[in-house]
Symmetry: C3
Subunit: 288 residues, 3 copies
């Protein structure tokens, strides 16, 4: 019986990136749908859960993607609402690669720092899908997390984040790179989630900074977000800090993404979102 | 050479249900198209018939689906008009699963009743794609078929049905469930094709009814269409009648659907519509 | 690792013709996209080049198709602009089958005529994608090529053609079939690229014409373009001329198309456009 992966993509084309990784992760066949909305997802889920008996349903799974993570979250909610009792299949949410990227970045920082409990982590420009999830996972692991943003985050978002992941998460406003040094006050770990091609942390703000153990930058498009880090850095020492560039993180992200695809077909009731993807990443590290 | 199934779907997403069954039925690869219309089907058929030599064309086939059976019938006509001489591939029409569901329901009633020749069958709310086909197949098998409907069927539809399937088919108006007992006058078999979640035949209209041998209900959403039948009933005795619920019929429907997919690849000139799908169902029963 | 072919199609449905040939040519899985534009192609290319390491990228490739060759050329330019350094995959451009058809027609005429150097070739109605490419390839092989058209070609188009393919290419106006004999003055080879169902070259214009060696007609819909040639002719002698009909050319076109698909997966930096497809066709002939 073939392992079928239904790709629910909210964008006009299904992501070719997600398709290639799905095949490399072990899906036998892909059933891809573009422009998927909450209104159209129900029939697609019915086709997944009503075609094979419960004992075979682990051979069918759903991947939710697209460029818009908020749309992906709405699709996930609609998918979960449609499945019931044993009539369910495993689901992976990774719109825009946000979940697997966030988990990979967190793993890299944890490997560099050892236990993050009580350590101060600054996530610059951390209000997007990757930053939010990375911040949450780090807080959940015991870190004291600060998210920087151009404008103050609203309290509801912070509350929601706190209640989902637990731990300690706060927000400081950092309007531009001139305030980076100030925002890094007391930082032991630094993760930049700023937009492509925007330098957010000048070299003099982080290089040889007292107490700073590691820094990771997810911006792959020059100018990079943390000045002085190379895009291919993967645990190098620079100016007294262990550093990771976007491609250094990206290699692990790909491994996690593929491992998650493989996991989907082990049972029919797995939900792979940020927290559970982090567990899969932990298993990968443990077996190496 | 891979067995390729082209899925022509009239709906905005290709049916995931049909896709999963296509793979489980033995198609190696699916070429799925959504929003297929009479205007766009010609080029798609050309791609099917002009790419492999006549002796290899049994490895290519077409499945016509979508939620709208009338659209499916128009697509089938357009497909048949495009193919010619030996330049043709086998085709299965099963929009919304109507053909395979109708055939499965008919098989169940036939197995319960033995020969249906001369037996009176009442098909409640039988003017939709499933009801029309089930009524036609039962008439063709020799039954005396009555279709109930809220408003009188027009004569042209009845004539068309009669000329396609032969046998005896008549119509009685049954505006609501209060007239069910009356409509069941003399019934030996009962098949409910009413809409999801609508109770059409109250228990006192059918339970222990003199002469009634079997009853099948295709409504899977509570309240079910025939009060007192369970959705999973599959030949159980209830109140003196052999009964089938929607899931009881659905199991056979899936087997028929898969067998039809497999059949498509045995030759390049098969047309699987209601009557020929009934023959495939007969072969399945014969080999069990 | 599966050989993945991304199909970028500019039309509302991905071409089923191209899909069947892709599978028969050796692609393991197809990732098909319809309505692909220059604006949407970048993300699709990124998914192709950023998911596998450079040493595995020969297992991923891109096919550009659709009914509109000009759109295909724009897509090819956009694809090439997006790939960089070792981050690239092989690409085949064959919108509407124009490239493989042109190459197949040229090969047929070359096989009939031997060396075409200095030979006068008339390409009737040769301003469409097939005609332009066939004319260019013949000029490149040394022939003295004349393209006929209803209205005079503009100088820029001729210049562009000349600079791409080299050799000698000129244009004569042939408003209708009554001027065919005149246009064929001195012709040693004749290729008709006129529209389906239009007779362009009457039999008395070519039959037993002094010096005419071979003639090929790409119109498959009666009335054919060169009167007296049968659609299945494949090197037959008629009226002193070696002749090829559309299906005679079509068989070789299919072989070339499939061979090109197979070629795509041998390396990750192949660009298969008219000239390089002609080389692939040459390799096929050499091994037979």
């Amino acid at each position: 019986m073939k392992r079928l992966l239904l790709q629910f993509d909210s964008s006009p084309h299904p992501s070719s990136f997600d398709q290639v990784v799905a095949y490399d992760g072990g899906a036998d066949r892909l059933l891809s749908y573009a422009n998927v909305t909450e209104a159209t997802v129900r029939d697609l889920v019915h086709g997944a859960i009503f075609t094979r008996g419960p004992k075979d349903l682990h051979n069918t799974a759903i991947f939710i993607g697209g460029t818009d993570m908020a749309a992906g979250e709405r699709l996930l909610a609609a998918v979960q609402k449609t499945m019931f009792g044993p009539m369910r299949v495993s689901v992976l949410l990774d719109s825009n690669g946000s979940n697997t990227t966030a988990v990979a970045a967190v793993v890299k920082l944890q490997q560099a720092a050892g236990d993050v409990t009580g350590k101060r982590v600054v996530v610059t420009a951390g209000t997007g899908p990757v930053g939010i999830r990375a911040a949450g996972l780090l807080a959940r692991a015991g870190a004291d997390v600060v998210i920087t943003s151009r404008k103050a985050m609203d309290a509801a978002t912070l509350d929601q984040l706190q209640s989902r992941f637990g731990g300690s998460i706060s927000n400081v406003v950092m309007p531009d790179s001139s305030k980076a040094a100030e925002a890094l006050e007391g930082a032991q770990l630094l993760l930049n989630c700023g937009p492509a091609g925007v330098l957010l942390v000048p070299q003099d703000a982080w290089a040889n900074r007292q107490g700073l153990i590691a820094a990771a930058d997810l911006n792959a498009v020059p100018p990079l977000g943390i000045e002085g880090i190379e895009v291919t850095d993967n645990g190098a020492q620079r100016d007294g800090v262990i550093v990771f560039g976007a491609l250094g993180v990206g290699g692990l992200k790909m491994k996690i993404h593929k491992a998650c695809i493989a996991k989907l077909f082990e049972r029919n009731d797995l939900l792979l979102d940020a927290e559970t993807i982090a567990e899969v990443a932990g298993e990968i590290s443990a077996t190496k």
